[in-house]
Structures are given as C-alpha cells and as structure tokens.
C-alpha cells in the first residue's frame, strides 16, 4: 500500500506541474493543412508558405489575413476555419461574418452561408448589401425558388436581380411581366448582351417572333454585361495578381512604357520563371524581336507552339520574326497559318504588304480586302453600323469573291433601311456561297 500511495503522490505532483505549465502557456490553435502542390504559380505558393510561417496564432488579424489568402487560392474549408478562429478571438470584428459566409457559400454549405450573409447584412457590415444577390443564388441552389424570388423582388432596383427575375418569370409562363422588367433594363443597358438575349426569349415565349428576331440580332451586336463577378471574386483576382507572375508582367509593361526594354524583358523572363504562360512567352518573344534577338524570338515562339499548340497571336509574331530574319517566305507561311485560325486585320495587312513586295498584286488586294472585312466585323459587333458598312463595302470591292463580306454588307444595309441594296448584297453572297443559310434566311424574311 505504501509503495502505491507514493507512486500516486508522485503522479499527482507530475500532473500538477503539467497543469501549471499548460495554464501558463497561452492557448494556440493549430494551423489547417493545405496541399500547395495544387497551385501552379510559384509566387502564390511562396506567399502562402511564408504567411503560414509568420502567422501569430494569438492574433485574430493574422488568422483573418491567412483566411483571406486561403479563400483567394481555393482552400475554402481552411479559410472558413481561419475565420471561425478569428471570430472566436475577435467577435467584435463583424466583417468576419461576411468572410465566413463567402467561404461557406464556396464550400456549398448554402444554408449556413445564407444565415451568415443575413447576420452580416443585419449588422451593416461594409459592402454586405451587395451580397444580397448571393442569398438569392444560395436559395436557388437549395431548390427554394419561392424564397429566392422573394429575395430578388426585394432587390428589384438592382439590374442583376431584375435580370434573374426576368429569367424566372419567362420560364414560369409570366413572360409579359418579364417584358415589363426588361423594358427598364433595356433603357439603361441598351448595349448589354443579357437584356437583349432575355428580351428575345421573352418574346419567343409569347410567340412574338419578329420582336424575338430583332432582340436576338441586337444581342449579337452588343458588348456589355450586367452580371458581374461578385465583389469577393473581383477582390480575389486583384489579390492573386498581386502575388503572381502578373506582377512581373505588369512591371515589364510599365518598363516598356518608359522605354527600358532590356529591363522589361528581364521582368517578363521572371514572370515565365514563376509560371509558364503562353501570353508571357509571347511578350518575351516580342521584346527579343524589339532588341534584335530574332533567333531567340523564333526559338521561344516555336517552343510555345510545341507546348500548347499554335495560335493566331503566336503565329503572327513568328511571321514578324521570320520577316526580320530576312525570310519573307517563312513569314508569309506563318501569317497564312495565323489567318486560317481567324487572325485579325493586322495579319492580313502584313500579308498584303508582303505579297505586294513580291509583285503578287491580286493576293495583296485580297488580303487588304480581308483586313477591311475584319475591321468591319469589329465595328459591326460593337454596333457601329455605318462605320462597318463602309469597311464591308471596301472589303467587297477588294475581295469580291468573299461571301461573308457581302453578307455583312447586306446586314448593314438592312439595318439602315436600304432594302434594295441589302437584297442585292445578300444575292451576291448567295451567288458565291449558295448554301449560306443566314443570307438565304434574310432573303426570305
């Protein structure tokens, strides 16, 4: 008994010491583990690793900051955990509610996300009101369409809410009500793709085919968008750019603007080291061309083509490089490959110039026409109808056997109300391409 009692006393002593030490030590929360191999940008990896090392686990601001970065790079459960820890330490920081809501939303825990969004809105957290639309989205995701519609109706002044509501109304047999909502939107966003598309579908639902066709047509010549990424996604993008190869790319553009080309090239090279991207390689090759290192540019561009396939932009630059290297044949070959991949007006201009130098005036004229056609389409899709009409007219004069040029010229005449000229141009299109469905359709309307 004596030996046992001594042992027990020793144990109690040891435990008392342990308890004292534990009580003396401040409580610390373990950091969540993340798999950084999922990231391709080395700078992002380094940023997160450094942040994890430096975080003061007693400081809610550090937990918040770490959470924000986890959120930025797609580690949503880890982000949510960080915000929960920070919230426990600093319940007065109400912005943490919103951050938790965003994390939960991204993780698919829509119900909890809705609760958190609502709490944040109730407490007038900065920007929280702009997240109301996410409540509606979460409710739709939960299958509670009725509640989502109620939520959207509260936000009718928001264009995005009106657009969402219009879609719901069209699908639920209330297209006339949707049209009323859309009238307001169309007045405010006549250049928007979505209101015209939605107006087309509302008219279709009401079997008003003429109105539907008019809005469809207009949607094709629109450019703006009403629906933007949620605020947190926009902030994520900015944050990512601050810690990515984009930093070096932006720096190289800045340096280029200052005429410091060699430094700009070095920044661009650094950007590629951080993460290989075709656009960055293209910029680097263009610097090489600028600095007269043409063989290096060719090697870079051919390497990019080997790695991710050719594109109109890489082929266009490759043509430039071969041209500077004194091989116009290879330059033309590259530019022609680019045009087969829908390269823009600039490539056709280069081909026109190159063919003119060889004395091939007919091909030069053909490409001049196609350059005007490309410019015409740019103007057409930006709804600059008169400008596009002039360019298509020029295109059809120079590339008279190019059917799409006649089709778009006809479309511009139609919009300007010149039915006879439109008819003639559609007719010319069909003479060259008898199976051009859109021209045929337009002729029969």
């Amino acid at each position: 008994m004596k030996r046992l009692s001594i042992l027990l006393l020793l144990l109690v002593g040891a435990e008392l010491v342990g308890l004292a030490l534990t009580l003396a030590r401040p409580k610390t929360q373990e950091l969540p583990s993340v798999d950084l191999t999922l990231l391709g940008d080395q700078m992002a990896v380094e940023t997160l690793a450094k942040m994890q090392q430096q975080v003061d686990r007693r400081d809610p601001a550090d937990w918040r900051q770490l959470g924000v970065y986890y959120l930025t790079y797609g580690y949503y459960p880890q982000a949510e955990m960080c915000f929960r820890v920070a919230w426990r330490m600093a319940p007065q920081d109400e912005s943490l509610l919103l951050l938790q809501a965003i994390s939960l939303d991204r993780m698919g825990n829509k119900h909890e996300a809705i609760d958190h969004y609502r709490s944040a809105i109730k407490r007038n957290v900065r920007d929280a009101e702009s997240y109301r639309i996410r409540i509606a989205h979460c409710l739709f995701a939960e299958g509670d369409d009725e509640a989502a519609i109620l939520e959207l109706e509260k936000m009718e002044r928001l264009p995005e809410a009106r657009l969402l509501l219009s879609r719901v109304l069209i699908r639920s047999g209330r297209a006339s009500e949707a049209q009323e909502l859309l009238q307001v939107l169309l007045r405010e966003f006549d250049q928007g793709v979505e209101p015209h598309s939605m107006a087309c579908w509302a008219a279709e639902a009401l079997a008003d085919w003429e109105t539907a066709y008019r809005h469809q047509n207009r949607a094709l010549r629109a450019q703006g968008n009403i629906v933007h990424s949620p605020l947190f996604r926009q902030e994520d993008i900015v944050r990512r750019q601050r810690h990515s190869n984009k930093v070096f790319h932006d720096r190289s553009i800045e340096l280029e603007g200052m005429g410091r080309i060699e430094e700009a090239r070095a920044a661009c090279r650094e950007s590629i080291r951080v993460m290989w991207e075709e656009d960055m390689v293209l910029s680097y090759a263009l610097f090489e061309i600028h600095l007269g290192n043409v063989p290096s540019a060719i090697e870079l561009l051919e390497g990019a083509i080997e790695r991710v396939g050719s594109s109109p932009t890489t082929l266009d630059a490759l043509g430039d490089a071969w041209n500077l290297a004194g091989d116009p044949g290879k330059a033309r070959a590259a530019w022609l490959r680019a045009t087969e991949m829908h390269a823009g007006a600039a490539t056709h201009d280069k081909l026109a110039g190159s063919f003119a130098k060889t004395g091939n005036s007919s091909r030069a004229q053909w490409h001049r026409g196609l350059a005007d056609y490309q410019r015409g389409k740019e103007a057409w899709f930006a709804n600059r109808v008169s400008e596009s009409s002039e360019l298509f007219r020029s295109a059809t004069l120079q590339s008279a056997n190019y059917a799409p040029g006649w089709y778009y010229l006809a479309e511009t005449y139609r919009l300007k109300g010149d039915e006879a000229a439109a008819h003639n141009a559609y007719q010319r299109c069909l003479e060259i391409a008898p199976n051009h469905g859109r021209a045929r359709h337009a002729m029969t309307r």
Partner: protein, 438 residues
C-alpha cells in the same frame, strides 16, 4: 511531519483520495490539451466508398507525355475495323485529332489524323460522303478559353482511298463550336449535321443540311449561350431522328427537338434549373434502363467560372428518363463534386448499363477524393463507387471494352490550364475493369 505523511500513506482511504485527485487532474489536462484543436477544418461532405466488392480496376496510361495536358475528348471505337477497340482523342495542347490504334490487344500506336485545329472539342466519325470509309467531322472551338469571337468552325477530314485526309471547312464565321453530331435529319438518305455553337455569352444550335459533296446549308434552331452537346437519336420512336441539347452558361436548360420531317422541328424545354451555379457539363443519349427508348444523362459540375472551383452538393448526374410521348422524368442518380463528363457501359459485366463519371474540379487536397466513379446499376438503383483518386482534373470519359474480355472499361483524359498546378495529371488513362475473385 514525515511521520505524519508516512502514516497517511499507509491508510487505504488516502490511496483512494489520491487516486481520485490523479484522475481529475489527468482529465483536466487532457481537456485542456483538447482546447488547442477544437476548431477544425470541415471534412468532405459526401464520402464516396473507394472500392466496390465486385469490381476492381487496373490503371494504365496511354501515349507519350507532353509538357502541356489538355485532352478535351476521348472516344472508344474500332476505327480500323480490325475487331479491336481504338481511341480517338482531341488534344487542345497539340491542336490535334489523334488516333491511338490498338493492335494487337494492349499495344498502342499514336497517329496524328489532323493538326493545326485550334482547340478541337470533339471528333465525330461518320461516312459523310457515303463512299464506304470513315470520315471525321471536327468541332473546333478556336480557343479553349472563354471568348465570344467568331473563331469556331466545323472541319471535315475526308478520308481518301490512300488513307490520308483532305481537309474542308464546312462551317465558318461562327462562335466556338463544342459539338457536331450526324444523322439523316431530313430523311433524304444522306447524313446531315447538328452543330452546338457554345460561344460564350452568345451561342446557338444549327443543323447543316447535306446538299451534296462538301455542301452544307446552315439552319438556325436555337439562340442560347453555352450549348455543349447535341446528341441525335429517335426520342419518340417514330422512326426519324430528334435532337437533344444542353444549354449551360447560367441558362441551364435541356431542350429537345422533335423531328417533324422535311427539316422542320418542334422544340420543347424539358428541364431547367434556376440554380445558375449548377454547371451543366454535357449530355449523353442512351437507353439506360433498357426499356427500348432513349434516355438522357446530364452531368452537372462545371463551375470553372472561377479558376479555383470547389465541389458543390448539387453536383452529380441527372437521369432524364424517357416516359414516352415526349414526357421525361428527371431524377438524380449521383452526387459527385465537379462532375464534368459521363459515359454509359456495363462496367461489372452483369448485362445492364452502369454509369461512369469523372470530376474536373474537386477537393483534390483530400487524397481520398475519387476523380473517377462508377454507378452500379441494380434494377435502376444506382450505387456510387470510387474507381480511382488519380489522375485528377478529368474532362472527358468513355466506356468500352479495351482488353477484349467482354466487360466495358473506362478511359479518361486530364485538362490543365494555368494557374492551377499540374501535379497528378495524365493525358490518357485507362482503367481495365476486372471481376474480384472470391
């Protein structure tokens, strides 16, 4: 003092008291330690069993490695008609359509059927000119990444008698083309084409009327963005070919086009969701329940609008069961995060149709998260089983017998783009299905 302590130690009750104190202290210590980890990362929402008791899979990779991995489509078919299944692959990193010829069984050889096709999304094998050989119609996106420009095209690779291909553009001046399917839509005896123009904010569905050698007239059927797939089949059993279409890009609608003859169609929206985040990812036509009519399978889980996408509880697969007379019943048969593609095949060799799904965006930090699953069909009740956890970021899947044992196997390909990491990716992976011996 020492004597007093000695006396106490010898008492039985003292030992009991000290024991109780020790236990209380130990519990306090343990509890105190637990405070440090009481806030934990939330675990995966829907754990999927990693192996079924009846089927096991043997993984193998096919084809050489490449610095960039962007496989957009894989199909299993016997392209050279030698009785052994081959693979037809669209590779957007090499801008190529590739034929992985299997001859003899287990030996694969790559042949480039066509290159310089900017981001091919799909290759449809069909004897378009009815000269007895297999031509290929390629759906060309023009850019893998979001774009509303008119950069898409439909390209015919017309097989010549010497085995080479002559290339013809059948459709141009359109936005990004995601799918082309063939069938005699106007009943005149030659194959026509259905074209899914994905675009971005604007897209459309067209059908191309075959009007003789390499002559196709385009007809507009639907104005919607993000049309991914447009499978063709006789949905109402009236002997002509109808069309089904999945619309994504926040519209999330499923349309069917009832062939009325002579190139006219009556359209009907048979499913939609107001959940714009659902991410419809494709559409497959198959008689899943083997009742003699064609059903539709709709994978949902494409949430790549944000590069760091995450699995959602509403991701998975819907079975749109054909009830006849243009009535369809929609039921969810799987919950699977980031579901990006679906294929039908008899994976367990029991004579019915099972389903395979692959995932593009998922919780890849969790090494137990399957990237490929199969749904075991037991009297139209579907049980989900993991096939494998690697490779990840899979965009396409096909089922078919690749080793000649009569059981359907699985093939899939990864699709990578920056700024995502490229670890655990593989261009083409095959999973050979085998029975578990007991």
């Amino acid at each position: 003092m020492c004597r007093m302590v000695n006396r106490l130690i010898e008492k039985r009750w003292f030992a009991v008291v000290v024991s109780v104190i020790a236990v209380i202290l130990a519990a306090t210590l343990i509890n105190r330690g637990g405070d440090e980890t009481d806030i934990a990362v939330r675990g995966p929402q829907i754990p999927i069993p990693l192996a079924s008791p009846n089927v096991r899979f043997r993984r193998q990779t096919i084809g050489a490695s490449h610095p960039s991995i962007r496989i957009t489509n894989i199909q299993i078919l016997d392209y050279d008609d030698d009785g052994i299944n081959d693979l037809i692959v669209c590779d957007a990193a090499r801008n190529s359509v590739l034929w992985y010829r299997q001859a003899p069984l287990g030996t694969w050889t790559e042949e480039v059927l066509a290159d310089e096709l900017k981001a091919p999304a799909h290759a449809t094998v069909v004897d378009i000119d009815q000269d007895g050989d297999q031509d290929i119609i390629v759906s060309v996106l023009g850019d893998l990444f979001p774009s509303d420009k008119l950069i898409g095209s439909v390209v015919l690779l017309e097989r010549q008698s010497d085995g080479s291909f002559s290339r013809h553009i059948l459709l141009d001046d359109v936005r990004r083309v995601a799918d082309v399917q063939s069938g005699d839509l106007d009943g005149d005896g030659d194959p026509d084409l259905v074209v899914a123009v994905f675009g971005y904010a604007r897209g459309e569905l067209l059908w191309l009327e075959n009007r003789g050698p390499r002559q196709f007239r385009d007809h507009h059927l639907l104005f919607r963005p993000g049309i991914i797939h447009a499978p063709v089949g006789d949905l109402d059993g009236d002997g002509d070919l109808d069309i089904a279409v999945i619309v994504s890009q926040e519209e999330e609608e499923l349309w069917v086009f009832d062939n009325q003859g002579a190139g006219t169609f009556r359209r009907q929206r048979i499913y939609f969701t107001n959940n714009v985040d659902v991410g419809s990812a494709g559409l497959v036509m198959s008689d899943l329940d083997a009742d003699g009519d064609l059903d539709l399978l709709l994978p949902q889980g494409d949430n790549l609008e944000d590069v760091y996408a995450w699995p959602q509880p509403y991701h998975g697969c819907l079975w749109i069961q054909n009830q006849g007379d243009w009535r369809f019943e929609v039921q969810r048969i799987a919950r699977f995060g980031g579901a990006y593609a679906v294929a039908v095949g008899d994976i367990d060799g029991d004579g019915d149709n099972d389903v395979t799904l692959v995932s593009m965006a998922n919780d890849w930090g969790n090494r137990k998260q399957p990237s490929v699953v199969w749904l075991e069909n037991t009297d139209q009740q579907f049980k989900i089983w993991g096939v494998d956890t690697d490779p990840i970021r899979l965009a396409t899947v096909a089922c078919g017998d690749l080793n000649g044992d009569g059981r359907d196997d699985i093939v899939s390909g990864s699709l990578h783009f920056p700024p995502l990491g490229d670890a655990r990716l593989q261009r083409i992976t095959v999973w050979i299905s085998e029975e578990v011996e007991r």
